[in-house]
């Protein structure tokens, strides 16, 4: 894809990394490092992740968000990430798109959650061209009233990250690991996961989505590809990412906590 030279003038540079099947924990580590230690703008696209993995937000509590017994039994990895937001289960059918920007990279954009999400929805508006009644609804990406993309952010003094996990496809059985969250958008209307979410593959192909996203970014940035090896070789050994895999012990403790709350509730009922 060639962008006419005249269109490149005045747009800040954004480096693009394209991955396929990268482990989500590694992706999160790279993202946090780039947010905290780089001064450049980045787009990371990871087309699927190999192993089904649960990813909670920074304040997520396993006892409240997960069906702990099946998670433990099936040894599903659980990650706590450095950004806010809710819990997702990701796998090979998930497409990850991440924007990491300096706060003045997009003209007139205030570095707060809602303006950033509003801007990102403009990017995806261009990608979907009104397909499937795409829009941003109460901070989720939806077709109609069904969510297909969950996003989260982290904002530092001079930079921000907005990352999204898009459900191009998903396994029904994986959704059973997640509880209905207590904090949910109004439009969810207490629907369970399978009534609430939908598959992006019913609306667009993987390649059209990824190519369309890169093209839409070209409206705001001069996009240039970068190899992951170049970033990995330049990684600072001093930086310590905060996204981490929860230990089996931590998840078991959450189960104990849950069961002790149930037994208190039982003993206090008439």
């Amino acid at each position: 894809m060639t962008i006419p030279q005249s269109q490149k003038i005045g747009r800040p540079l954004m480096k693009l990394i394209r991955l396929r099947g990268w482990p989500i924990l590694q992706q999160l580590h790279i993202e946090e490092q780039l947010l905290r230690t780089s001064s450049e703008n980045w787009c990371i696209i990871n087309d699927g992740t190999k192993e089904p993995t649960i990813v909670m937000g920074v304040s997520g509590k396993p006892a409240e968000l997960l069906e702990i017994k099946p998670v433990l039994h099936d040894q599903v990895p659980v990650i706590k990430r450095f950004t806010g937001g809710g819990t997702v289960i990701v796998d090979g059918g998930t497409i990850f798109v991440t924007f990491i920007c300096n706060k003045d990279a997009v003209p007139d954009l205030q570095p707060y959650p809602r303006p950033i999400m509003s801007w990102s929805s403009l990017i995806y508006n261009e990608v979907f061209h009104g397909t499937g009644d795409f829009h941003l609804r109460e901070n989720d990406y939806v077709f109609g009233n069904r969510k297909f993309g969950g996003n989260a952010q982290s904002i530092t003094k001079g930079r921000w990250i907005h990352h999204t996990s898009f459900l191009w496809d998903y396994e029904i059985r994986n959704m059973a690991y997640l509880k209905l969250p207590s904090r949910a958008p109004e439009y969810r209307s207490a629907r369970d996961h399978l009534e609430f979410i939908c598959r992006m593959k019913d609306y667009i192909s993987r390649s059209d989505f990824i190519d369309g996203t890169i093209r839409a970014l070209g409206t705001y940035f001069s996009v240039e590809s970068e190899e992951m090896e170049a970033i990995q070789s330049g990684r600072s050994t001093k930086f310590s990412p905060s996204s981490r895999l929860l230990t089996a012990q931590e998840i078991e403790s959450a189960l104990c906590e849950l069961e002790s709350r149930k037994s208190v509730a039982c003993s206090s009922s008439p």
């Binding site: 806010g84 007139d108 003094k157």
Partner: protein, 163 residues
Amino acid sequence: MALRMWASSTANALRLSSKASLSPAFSLHRCFSSVLDGLKYAPSHEWVKHEGPVASVGITDHAQDHLGEVVFVDLPEPGGSVSKGGSFGAVESVKATSDINSPISGEIVEVNTKLTETPGLVNSSPYEDGWMIKVKPSDPSELGSLLGPKEYTKFCEEEDAAH
């Protein structure tokens, strides 16, 4: 110390450049954010109140309004240190974690543990019950480089007008 409210004419709008179309669902408008007399302010929207040997730190009304409902506050333990301009914690709101930066350097002597159970205090009472840490300043002269109420009010107005 008597505290007076300074009301700025800050418009808290989600304004993007003219080439973008803004979803009406994300247009939030407020007429003003409160700025208190007697406090000093950082351009990153934290406030500091210096009383004797200790300074209290939190985020401003402007900041909490732009962030939205705060659902989680991540604060350090007492005994640690902070550096002027450095991050000491984060708040979570609307799916985002936002760094909180200290306006001054020093030793953390107290942390507001109420924010663990009631993070919404940051929204409802950003200058009082929503205080975050108390610091023993290592260099009180750092306060001199912070913004006063009038300067901070003007800063917020200019920042919002530019977007």
